[in-house]
Symmetry: C2
Subunit: 644 residues, 2 copies
């Protein structure tokens, strides 16, 4: 089986290594022996039936290498069986996507011979991760050599080792050849083209590919808005009078944008076989702890944490903390306004170039402070959510996303809302929006890609030098690669990437009517974002495990909420425009009533639209129905065959 890694060094590993396991360097020998035995043991005996080998790095003068690094691989047969266990969907002969079963393997489209090349690298690694994660304790009361590392039947061994720091990390290895090919088609050729989403999915899995798909879709969706924005800017339609048209456009755009994305996302997910894939039964998080009790669903003994305690932690600690942070954010905003007035006063007293530049300083400082606050809050939120002790990763994620979104939304947009609706100062709004947007974009690109890249390059050079000094000509590519990748940073998931897009979406959909260049800036940002994100995935971070995803999850909801807020905001901005006010010279009341009425109609229309547009395109609905029909028919046939 050719899984890409050119392992010429057969003395290092007798199989294609796919996943690296790194244990703490002081791990006791009996624990290691036990773990390796469990990983190698047959499935009948409750083992994972995988291949695993130790990697021995040559001793170095300055520092001792970690002796406890292992590579894990698998036989092809085991992987195919594992593909059935994890419920992988693959393309069938007739072009539909079906759940893979080993018995029907010959009927799948790309299955030739013994099935070599049928599973992608990322899929194999995902399967190995699944098998490792579901390697369960049998009758062991604790990890051998660690009497305090308690186990109970059914507990995931890997999670327990991980939560206690014995297992430092496990991650999939890069495949150098595939990576070279992918990075060439993705960001190295200098012509504009669509991203190779299928290749990205092939290499990094569906979750990440969906993020890049969304990034691309969002950028394209912004192009018309940017195109309309440019003449607004160039021909100086800046009397803030003409923005009614732009606000109306915004309104329609933000609704249609998300509805169409749902369909695109369903199409992608169907083609990748994740749309109809059933969610596996979710294991508790690695960090989850509690008194031993019985799981009401499985009936197994496992830690149980009363949900009332969790609720107490949420409502008595987390919620007050978030409110306190929001208060702080408002306080900082007020300080910003003070600075702003101070700068304006200086400018008015003595208007020259120096003071006109000074005008922008408060906004820039504020933008930097916002970013710093977001960053700090992010850590606090993660700590708090972890402390809330959620049993499932999904519940942890939801609570984290909620905390972070609420704060980031207020922190980034509060000042803009204040300027727009309390101060009603459209000139300041425009200036503030531009500064915030540009500053945060620059900061983001630096923090997210260039800084890690620079750090990574320094580290790479050091490792390369060290390896060369040690081994001279005798090159051991696998050892070198593992050494390099072990020290790379871990990619923490798409959270921050989506968050950034969410805030950009907010800037564009909420206020771009007063600063039409916003869309242009976001488009430019996103084009570089694609390249920097692609680069960071390929060369800055460890390869992440593939994450099956059928949609962008909680982010769809977040974007939809934002688009509802956008309708309200845009209607209010229209109501404030001098152009509209001129129609109602006498009565403000009538104007407000009409704006409110229109807003209600638009919101109702939005909901109806969301309801009427099917989330899944027709032809995919047909395919899904076909799948269901076939499984019903098969069930009937089986029953009849059983002699009924």
């Amino acid at each position: 089986m050719q899984l890409g890694l050119s392992v010429s060094d057969s003395d290092v590993s007798s199989f294609t290594p796919l996943v690296v396991l790194e244990l703490a360097d002081d791990t006791k020998a009996e624990a290691i022996t036990w773990l390796l035995n469990r990983i190698r043991d047959k499935q009948q005996n409750g083992g994972a039936e995988l291949l695993v080998n130790q990697l021995l790095f040559p001793a170095q003068d300055d520092q001792k290498p970690n002796p406890n690094v292992f590579v894990v691989g698998s036989t092809l047969q085991r992987l195919l069986n594992g593909a059935e266990d994890v419920g992988l969907f693959k393309e069938f002969q007739d072009g539909t996507m079906r759940g893979f079963t080993y018995a029907n393997r010959e009927s799948f489209k790309d299955f030739n011979g013994d099935g070599e090349g049928f599973l992608s690298d990322a899929e194999c690694q995902y399967i190995i991760k699944h098998e490792l994660d579901t390697l369960r304790a049998k009758n062991e009361e604790h990890v051998p050599g660690y009497p305090k590392l308690k186990l109970y039947p059914g507990k995931s061994v890997v999670r327990r080792l991980q939560s206690k720091g014995v297992l430092i990390q496990y991650f999939p290895l890069h495949n150098k050849e595939d990576l070279k090919r992918l990075s060439f088609s993705w960001y190295k050729k200098f012509k504009l083209s669509l991203q190779p989403l299928d290749d990205i999915r092939h290499y990094f899995g569906e979750g990440l590919a969906l993020y890049f798909g969304f990034l691309e879709y969002f950028t394209f969706a912004l192009v018309p808005m940017a195109l309309i924005g440019i003449p607004y800017y160039l021909f100086d339609w800046e009397d803030y009078d003409k923005y009614v048209l732009f606000a109306v456009f915004n309104l329609v755009w933000s609704t249609v944008f998300l509805e169409v994305w749902k369909r695109c996302s369903a199409t992608l997910a169907y083609g990748w076989g994740t749309l109809s894939r059933k969610k596996a039964f979710e294991e508790p998080r690695a960090g989850f702890h509690g008194a031993l009790g019985f799981n009401p669903v499985t009936g197994r003994e496992e830690p149980v944490y009363p949900s009332s305690k969790r609720q107490l932690r949420i409502y008595l600690v987390s919620v007050p903390f978030v409110l306190l942070c929001l208060y702080l954010s408002f306080y900082v905003m007020m300080v910003y306004f003070d600075m702003e007035f101070w700068a304006i006063n200086i400018y008015n007293e003595n208007p020259d170039i120096a003071t006109s530049i000074l005008l922008f300083v408060p906004s820039i400082i504020y933008a930097v402070v916002i970013e710093i606050m977001n960053l700090l809050y992010r850590f606090a939120a993660e700590f708090l959510t972890d402390w809330e002790n959620h049993r499932l990763e999904s519940s942890f994620q939801n609570h984290l996303v909620l905390k972070v979104l609420v704060f980031n939304f207020v922190n980034c947009f509060a000042s803009l809302f204040y300027i727009a609706f309390v101060m009603q100062d459209m000139v300041l709004l425009r200036q503030s929006l531009a500064t915030l947007l540009i500053t945060s974009q620059i900061l983001n690109q630096v923090m997210e890609a260039f800084l890690p890249y620079w750090l990574q390059r320094r580290r790479n050079k050091k490792v390369h030098k060290r390896m060369r000094r040690l081994m001279g000509d005798k090159e051991l590519p696998l050892l070198g690669q593992v050494q390099l990748e072990t020290e790379m940073n871990t990619y923490l998931g798409t959270f921050d990437d989506y968050l950034e897009q969410f805030l950009l979406f907010g800037y564009v959909s909420l206020f771009s009517c007063v600063y039409p260049l916003a869309a242009v800036l976001v488009v430019l940002n996103n084009i570089t974002e694609v390249y920097s994100d692609a680069f960071k995935m390929c060369h800055v971070f460890k390869r992440p495990f593939s994450e099956p995803a059928m949609n962008i999850g909680v982010w769809q909801l977040a974007f939809e909420t934002m688009s509802i807020i956008a309708v309200v905001t845009n209607c209010a901005l229209i109501g404030l425009s001098p152009q509209v006010k001129a129609y109602f010279p006498e009565s403000d009341t009538q104007l407000i009533l009409i704006v409110v009425a229109i807003e209600h109609v638009l919101l109702a229309f939005k909901f109806i639209l969301a309801f009427v547009i099917p989330d899944v395109p027709k032809h995919i609905q047909v395919n899904l129905a076909k799948l269901e029909f076939d499984s019903l028919e098969a069930l009937k046939k089986r029953r009849r065959a059983l002699g009924r």
Copy 2:
């Protein structure tokens, strides 16, 4: 197997008859023979494997009885197999609900001996209906004796016969003993108690039981509102000043009411085994027609109707028709206002008792006209939706409900909105609301229960007399029962019942703050409604086939929409109240802005509430997860058993 019907007349039927089939009296003999053979044929040969017998009514002097009436029954074994086919959920030994399988039959809670009494009457009849409906044509090109009645392989025979009028009707027989017991516990004992929902479900199926459950829940939910309303009325808090409190109460009530119902409904549906039951593959409607083509899902040959044609019919005919009807409704409303002014003028000119009674006449006439318009529109909507040629019953129902709801909402409430927000005349609003509500309630009760009952009694007497004259003492209870029930009206489903509750909910949640007695009236109406509905189900209509339902379906959405409109309306009414206006003596603008802001907050709160409150109670979620977990485990075990 004792299924209740006391068939002493073994010469009439050798098995317990459950379902009656009535064919047209001029049906050709060869068609009848063919149909009976298909029904009796073994399942391996594509038959339904049911028992069927002809009923021969003695000839009558004045009119010839229909010779083509058949009763259908089944063996117990066949019914149990059928229960597995339709995916029935029953209570398992451990108290959870599980999909019934014949192989595991002994593990289900109430399964004793050969399984007698395990399935309820309604379930048996539902199974027989399913088996008849899925009796498919094999290689017949047409119905024997009817060259024009084309068939194709896989076409449901019963649906084809029905759509061409050969099969007049088929319906389940009442079970006299069970009915007597049910009607006693339901409405015959004169003490207030909860309805016997489980018995209703047992006899009429889940769909109807859920309706009665909803009716009961709605009535109970209205009690607090009624209790608050009475002192408002008695102590003459009628300066329309104190209604702010009431409006706020309304607001909260209408939100909580529906969220809690979802949980109640899930609890009921879980206990009845319909919550996790998979929907069967939906057959085309009996009336659906089109050119023969291929179904993209099943790959079978069947009529296909291009959806573009249907869209054309909907948008070019149905939508304009609905708009025209809405226009007509507005026109009638304007005529009503003219009458109203005319009556007020007469009263002002000459205020005495006669003219003060005259004041109510326009509202009463308008209420009657509204009811008549609703009725006429209902027929038109049904005709149009039928003409739109929807393939599935569910799609037909959705389009029908949408059409009827939009019109009924406008027709019933337009005048009230006009009085409240355009004329801002709270006295007239109150008077108009009271008249509309009371008149429509009286009309409804008469039209829905008393009129059909009266007609039914006349018919019953005639049939009884005829039977007695013909047979003298030789009583044939089955023949008599079939004769009676064949001539009963068919119950057309819960549509009209839900519609009535929907409109009552509208009156209460939208405007009851100006007429607090509305809730009292609705409670009184609903108490009699329970009795009259129960009575009509037991004695006026044919027994309907049981309809598995996991919730109240599209009506949940309709009620939720109404509750959103109620939030908006109540906020606006609060804004109009003199009490609130007094706080903002100078600026209307500020008042409006504050009301709008509060409204937005409330709507947001409502959505968050709907999102946060789980639709399914915790313990049922656990049970559902357990079910899923067990099926996953079983799958794993089976795979391992297959030698993997």
